[in-house]
Subunit: 175 residues, 2 copies
DNA sequence: ATCCAAGGTTCAATGAATGAACTTCCCTGC
DNA sequence: GCAGGGAAGTTCATTCATTGAACCTTGGAT
């Protein structure tokens, strides 16, 4: 494989990780999955990625055990993509990447993550400063920050305006 | 810009971050820079990336303020690339990405990161469990793990076998 | 019988990555 | 004074990936 996604010469866990989630769009798919996006069309709308690329990335993420395809209705047959434990484990990475992006390149705070139990905003490592524990992903409450467009065009972005816990499926109103 | 590195439709700090460090090779360049690699040829040898791509990535990283070009000798004029504060701030992201890669896809531990002051192995967020503090990057001691090839071919990998602090420049023996 | 929506696949065009070859600058040895 | 060499790139044809638009399929709903 002369070109492509691998880093053959690297003896490094970071390189291994990047071979799996380092391609264009991949980490954003995982992000959306953590935010509660589950359906092909919702990923498509929210990401704006080409259909073929999205399909390929979903396939790859399933093959690596990061997402799982699950039938949620029989007729017509419809599947949804949900994150596995392995996908969940990417939360600290995404959190720190987002934090870095905001601190060094972002203007306003776009999304705020809180401990659902006590309302405290999470620290840089996903911990709750009040409770002194690392907050499990399902207990993270995501609320819109001041920098977020209050009236976005697409229904997925609109659904993501409502405060909600991570992983909790979004409600597009067209469901 | 119809194709390329940006994620125009995304209103998200993670997407902003990925526009900057999400391209192929970029995060590995930053990783190497944190490990103490500083010279074009050393990056080249250690990464195995095409020369043109490496040059482009170094340029981009400088433009974004993640690396800094610094003259380290006048004649012949030679520059080295060193990480800035902004680049340093990527350490938690790289750390958690590497941890995820190892826990979910790696076999053995390749590199071990310790608190230089006390020798304790770092926790998942770069903290020292003994001292109870987040360890500053220059105080992180990197030692080879059991899974690392003890006799690598290239001189940079060989230099990275010696226990050393992050950021401390490598010694290739040909310097 | 026709329309529609979800979830894809196919395809030509474009842009990025690759590896090899070439260039430049300056130093060192003969 | 000249040949050779290393560091740090640039150039270029080829290969691969991404893009966006169009098309396809399945199974309701009208």
């Amino acid at each position: 494989m002369p070109l492509g996604k691998d880093y053959a010469r690297q003896e490094c866990s970071i390189a291994r990780a990047l071979e799996i989630v380092g391609e264009r769009w991949t980490l954003l798919v995982v992000r959306d999955a953590l935010y509660g996006v589950r359906r092909y069309n919702d990923f498509l709308i929210h990401l704006g990625a080409p259909r073929a690329v999205l399909a390929a990335r979903l396939q790859a993420l399933i093959a690596e055990g990061i997402l799982e395809k699950r039938r949620y209705q029989q007729s017509p047959p419809r599947d949804e993509y949900v994150v596995t434990q392995r996908g969940l484990a990417l939360w600290p990475t995404l959190r720190s990447l987002g934090l870095w992006g905001r601190e060094h390149f972002g203007e306003a705070k776009l999304r705020i993550f809180q401990h659902a139990d006590c309302g405290t905003e999470l620290g840089p490592y996903g911990e709750c400063p009040t409770c002194g524990t690392v907050v499990p992903v399902p207990d993270v409450l995501m609320v819109p920050g001041p920098g977020l467009d209050p009236d976005p065009a697409d229904p997925v972005s609109r659904a993501l305006l409502k405060p909600k816990r991570l992983l909790e499926p979004i409600e597009t109103g067209q469901g």
